[in-house]
């Protein structure tokens, strides 16, 4: 399958610390790929590199064959990459509908002068944008909640609204940073289904950072494991589960002899009790 995003020998340093060290990484089109690793492994940093939040020091990131690592975040979004955040970052004092409308910013073209004049074209465009926003609200099961302020929505709804807002930019690649954080098992199951639906219905490739092992193993087609900024393993879920380096990274030397599935189970239970950060 064609590769949509490819990172080559990406290095990011914070002072003396090498947060991401020479990582190679590919995402095939319409696939679901995960990055896992212990806390501080450089996962979110890597995310930020892709979306342009921080500039990489060396290497190259290309999207659909063209390099994007020198572009501004808004330009990268324009190319078709969108993301959500580990700790939800909605626009809290705007309504759910307005949050999604902001996501559509790139597809609305009316200038401020025509907006002031209220030309028919602007009105038609706004009408279409509203309809699209309603459609997205329905897609994430938030029908009828469009007029509520984002901060007044319950936690799960906020997570879904954030995804809807990201989808409003019509991405080809969606980056989800710990989408299941703080969710109960039932919600997590719904989320897994929902992520599948995004990929199957909309044909969007998905890159996940996730601590919840049941989600990762159940949903990913490929998994990349980072530890101390370096890629230590890559493969299908079953390959990762039996990889001794991965077990070592998570549980320390010696634990590698234990069954990986078992170990991961323990890790993920740990995680659900204390959601990270």
């Amino acid at each position: 399958m064609a590769i949509i995003l490819s990172a080559k020998k990406v290095i990011k340093r914070f002072g003396g610390l090498v947060a991401v060290n020479s990582v190679d990484f590919d995402i095939p089109e319409k696939s679901i790929v995960s990055i896992i690793g212990p806390n501080g492994a450089g996962k979110t940093t890597f995310f930020n590199m892709i979306t342009g939040f921080g500039k990489i020091d060396e290497g190259e990131i290309s999207f659909e064959g063209t390099p994007i690592h020198r572009l501004r975040p808004d330009q990268i979004t324009n190319r078709g990459i969108s993301r959500t955040y580990q700790n939800i970052r909605l626009f809290p004092d705007m309504t759910a509908l307005e949050n999604i409308l902001v996501g559509q910013h790139l597809f609305l073209h009316s200038s401020w002068i025509s907006a002031v004049l209220g030309t028919p074209r602007v009105r038609a465009e706004e009408q279409m944008a509203l309809e699209e926003a309603q459609r997205l609200l329905n897609f994430v099961n938030l029908k009828g909640k469009g007029d509520m302020l984002a901060r007044n929505l319950p936690y799960g709804a906020q997570r879904r609204l954030e995804i809807a807002r990201a989808l409003a930019t019509k991405p080809k690649l969606l980056l989800l940073d710990e989408p299941s954080a703080g969710m109960n098992p039932r919600e997590t199951e719904d989320l897994t289904e929902f992520i599948h639906r995004i990929r199957d219905d909309l044909g969007i490739a998905i890159l996940l950072i996730e601590h919840h092992m049941r989600v990762v193993m159940g949903i990913s087609e490929r998994i990349t494991v980072l530890d101390y900024g370096e890629k230590i393993a890559e493969g299908t879920p079953s390959e990762i589960q039996s990889n001794p380096r991965v077990i070592e990274a998570y549980l320390g030397r010696g634990a590698a002899t234990e069954g990986m599935a078992n170990a991961h189970e323990r890790y993920s239970d740990n995680k659900t009790e204390t959601p990270s950060q």
Binding site: D74, P92, D93, E98, A115, N141, A168
Partner: protein
Amino acid sequence: MMIKKENLIWIAIKTGLLSGVIAIFLCLIGMIEVFSKRDVIEHIITLGDFILLVSAVSAGIIAARAASNPDQEKQPLKNYLAGALAGLTTGILIIAFIGLSQTINLRSVFLSASPSLFKLLTFKGGTSWIWIYPSIGLASGLLGTTLFLLPEKFRQPITRAIFITFLMALFSGLFRVIMINRAGSIAKLAKYLFGQTGLTLSGATIFFVAIIAISMFWTARSKNLQEGFSRIPKAGQTSLRVALYVLLAYVVIMLPQVSGPFIAQVVVIVSLYALMGLGLNITLGFAGLLDLGFVAFFAVGAYTVGLLTSYGIFGLQHIPFWVAVPIAVLVAMMFGAFLGLPVLGVRGDYLAIATLGFGEIVRLLAGSDFLAPFFGGPQGIIGIQKPCLGTLGEFLKVDVPRICNGIEFGGPKEIYYLAVASAILVAFIALRLQKSRLGRAWMAIREDEDVAEALGINLIQTKLLAYMLGAAFAGLGGAIFTVLVGSIFATSMQLIVSINVVALIIVGGMGSIPGVIVGAIALIGMPELLREVSEYRFLFYGAALIMMMLAKPEGLWPSQATLRELHHEDPGEDLDVASSQAKA
């Protein structure tokens, strides 16, 4: 939790002490003395008395509230005890203060503690004050408690009536002036209702009773009225609305003719501040970019028009005002971009300081000797031509002084129309912008800059537009200010203007367009109209800002989003249920 009796007494005394200290403070800064020259109800209550009364009554209300326990049923006796005690304490504190003043010369420290103040406070000498203050305090405390204990449906109309009657009393001189020049019966009515500085007793009674009646009727019937309105066919609704707008337009158009130049001038100043407020509302209210040097754009607009139209020695051109204004707006926009570019990456507190510096630089440069050959330095620019609506021939003349054959916008009564029309136009533009794609982008930047950028918003472009459009509105304000005054001096571009604009936005409601107008009326219009208050303008500002932050941080007329938030009090539960049902 039970409130213990000792505790209750202590709370009541504390409240009384606090209100007493406030009353003494107001006496010592001279406010009571100044305000006693103006009546609320003619020959009965002066503004000074009224303020002292309000402090005692509020002490009663606060103490009564503290004494009531929401878990228990109401115990009026306890409330009355607390209220009375608080009022009494206020009164006793005031007599202690008067007593002290007779043994110690307070004037050596407090300049306003003058003999005339104490003559006023002791009711022209004598000793009757010793028992008058405690008994009035006691009565006020009891009155406050009664107000507190009244059921909501009575309390609201009464407080509303007191407040509106008070406002009518404050502005009664204006109403009187407006009405007394009319035909016989209106003049008679004016004399019946309004005294020289306050309401007459009959006027006050009529307003008080009428407002209570209207208010109670409204609460009882507003729902029916609204339903009735929605039952009217669509065309009828539109024509009703149109009729309302026409009526409003008529009032706005007729006002300067009826009220005379003073009111017109006040409205012009309010409109100019509203223009600046609407401009800053775009940068600060919408895009969240604090600008403490906003007066700079006002100055740019003013100086551009001045230089382009003045017949004085600094006038570069003598083009008509109507051509100069668009140029001034464009120049202000350029300055907006010029300020915006270097501070694009600056956030929060640093931005405030950077813009503060910018404002001061513009003022200092404009008034400096260095640039005096261009901007007149401390002498300023004088001889600015008034706008003229005339024939095209006049319009095209570019040289020597133009004689206005058409309508000249010479004084405040004419410039009133220019200022009000500009404010309405700009408010309309701001409303359209707010609801547009650009408005949403600004708000997104205000809420979370990084996320906004990650959603495809070009920060540079969007922020620059916020600075530029905000500056354009302020520039228009400056242009009108110039022709109002007929001259420009750098000293009118003080930092305090910028601070006023920020304050009026906060008081009105951040990000709310009607809020800007309300804020401009409350913070600029009221002190202009009431000369007594304008002496204590900054005290008034400070108190208003602190009270707003404590009691109504969303502002007098909050933006739509804030209102919506108040409508959805606790939506959390049902949504969870709804969403899980939708999924199941």
